[in-house]
Every structure is written in C-alpha cells, then in structure tokens.
C-alpha cells in the first residue's frame, strides 16, 4: 500500500482544485479531507501511479456527486457563492465559471479532470467509468462548447494575462 501521506502530498492540490469547481471552495476543503480519509482507510490499489491517481479522483468524483445531490435535496445552491466572489476585474474568469456550469456534469468532470487534475485519457476513463474514446469525445465536446460560449478571440486575448 502506498504511503497515505505521500498520496496526500502528491494529489491534494489537484483533488482540491477539481472539487472546488464542482462544490465550491468551502465544501471542497472538507471533501478533500474526506477523500484522503477514505484513501487511508481502504488503502490504495496495487497499480501504477496513474492508476492510483485515477482511483483517488474516482473517489473524489463520487463524493462530489453525492454532495451535489444532497445539497439539491436540501434545496441549497452549490458553488453559487463562488460566482459572487469573482472580482469584476476578471471577466474571463467569471465567464469561464458560468460556461463550465453550463456543461453537462459528465463533460465538465472529464474536462476538469484533464485540465485541473492533470489526468490522462486512460485515467479519466477509469475515474469516470467511460471508454477512452468516450473520454476523447466528451473532452472535445466540452472544449468546443467552452470556445463557443467564451469566444476564441476573448480566450486568446486574455490567455497571456493569466
């Protein structure tokens, strides 16, 4: 079993950023802890680094889905507070958040796992229980939708300012 501390150090930032985009920053902190609590309890599978990362993100995704479902059941809005927190000086960031929220949940998960978590197609396919081709297709669809929403010109104009 991989050392839980090493796994936490290696993956906590990626998991937190991924969860941030789905449940908001405050709940993401708690969920990240919960993810690694489960990692510690159950022990990482005997696989390579990519397999372990995919497994951790699968746990994170399941916890996030449960959290969102429970929040909706309670009538709470998830991550809306973070939209309000966006400073007006960063219109691209605000637009990007809104565009991400307009994606289907699965497309968004695939996109965020790739761009925020740094997972490769195979790891995403394991984490989201999809085929690699489906991952490729959903990723492309998400990107096209984001381009259409944000506008390629706006993206290119602001990318150097980040």
């Amino acid at each position: 079993m991989a050392d839980a501390n090493l796994l936490f150090t290696a993956h906590k930032d990626g998991v937190f950023r991924y969860l941030c985009r789905i449940v908001g920053s405050e709940d993401a902190s708690e969920l990240t802890q919960e993810v690694f609590l489960r990692v510690t309890r159950s022990g990482a599978p005997e696989t390579d680094e990519g397999g372990v990362r995919a497994w951790i993100f699968r746990i994170a995704r399941n916890l996030a889905l449960n959290h969102v479902r429970d929040s909706r059941r309670r009538g709470e809005s998830v991550a809306l507070s973070d939209h309000a927190a966006a400073p007006p000086t960063q219109p691209l960031q605000t637009a990007l958040r809104e565009a991400l929220d307009r994606l289907s949940a699965l497309d968004r998960d695939v996109f965020l796992m790739r761009e925020v978590g740094g997972l490769n197609y195979l790891e995403i396919s394991f984490a989201c229980q999809l085929t690699a081709d489906a991952v490729r297709s959903r990723l492309h669809r998400a990107r096209q939708q984001l381009r259409a929403t944000l506008g390629g010109d706006q993206l290119r104009k602001h990318s150097g300012e980040q």
Partner: protein
C-alpha cells in the same frame, strides 16, 4: 493508449481536432495524421484555443478559496466595526436621554463662612451672682 488514426470517412475533420487535442494533452498521436491535421487553419486555431483555455482554467479552481477567505475577512472586519458602532451609539443615546430626562440640578448651596476669632480669653461677665452656702447654695455629698 492507442494512437489516433484518421478514418477515411466524414468524421475526418472532427478527427483532426481530436488529434491536435491529443497532442496538447500529451497523448500519443500519429505524426503523419498530425501533420495533415495542422494544415487546416481552423484546426491550428483550435489548438491555440485549447492551450488558452487551459491557462484560463488554471486559476479558476484557486480563485474561489482565496476570494472566499477575503470576503469572510471583510465580513469579519465589518462585524467588529458594526459591534463597536452599536456600542458607541448605545452610549451616546443613553447619555443624551439621560441629559434630557434628568431633573434640573438644585441651585448651588450658599457658602457660609464662619470666622472664629482666636478667643483664648473668656469674655467679661455682664452680671455677677454671688453664691452663699445655706442661702442660695446647698452642698451635697458627691457633688450632686
């Protein structure tokens, strides 16, 4: 991961996008297919947008946490200032109310100065009454 081949069908254009996306994502790609895909200006533009999108997304996850903390800190400061203002207003209100409802204060007391002269000498008698034993003076036991 299998390399992405270009199928000879209508999805050829779509495959060009997938190939450059795979390149951007660090996935293995067929170099000949990549070369052909990059001949299309729209595909090249897509590749640029994929990278730009990645740069933009990089800050999205990190932003809410810091903003949330900042907002919470601001609200915390506002809370303390509000509490201090409330206390100040209460004190001022109490003071003003006390000023308006209190009874008029009494006139200042007249100060009377009594000068006691240094009288070490008894005053002179104005009348002398002679006391004669058995007549107007009776001696009793114990001085009573």
């Amino acid at each position: 991961m299998a390399k992405i081949e270009m199928p000879p069908d209508d999805s050829r254009i779509e495959q060009s996008y997938l190939i450059v996306a795979a390149l951007a994502d660090g996935e293995p790609v067929d170099s000949r297919a990549l070369s052909e895909a990059l001949n299309d200006p729209a595909v090249r533009e897509y590749l640029v947008d994929v990278i730009a999108l990645r740069q933009a997304v990089g800050l999205v996850g990190a932003l809410p946490a810091s903003e949330h903390r900042k907002r919470r800190a601001i609200w915390s400061a506002v809370g303390w200032v509000s509490a201090a203002a409330a206390i100040l207003v209460s004190l001022m209100t109490g003071y003003v109310a006390g000023q308006q409802t209190s009874e008029p204060s009494p006139a200042p007391a007249v100060e009377t100065v009594i000068t006691i002269e240094n009288t070490s000498v008894a005053p002179r008698p104005t009348r002398i009454i002679p006391l004669r034993p058995g007549v107007n003076w009776t001696e009793t036991i114990g001085g009573k």
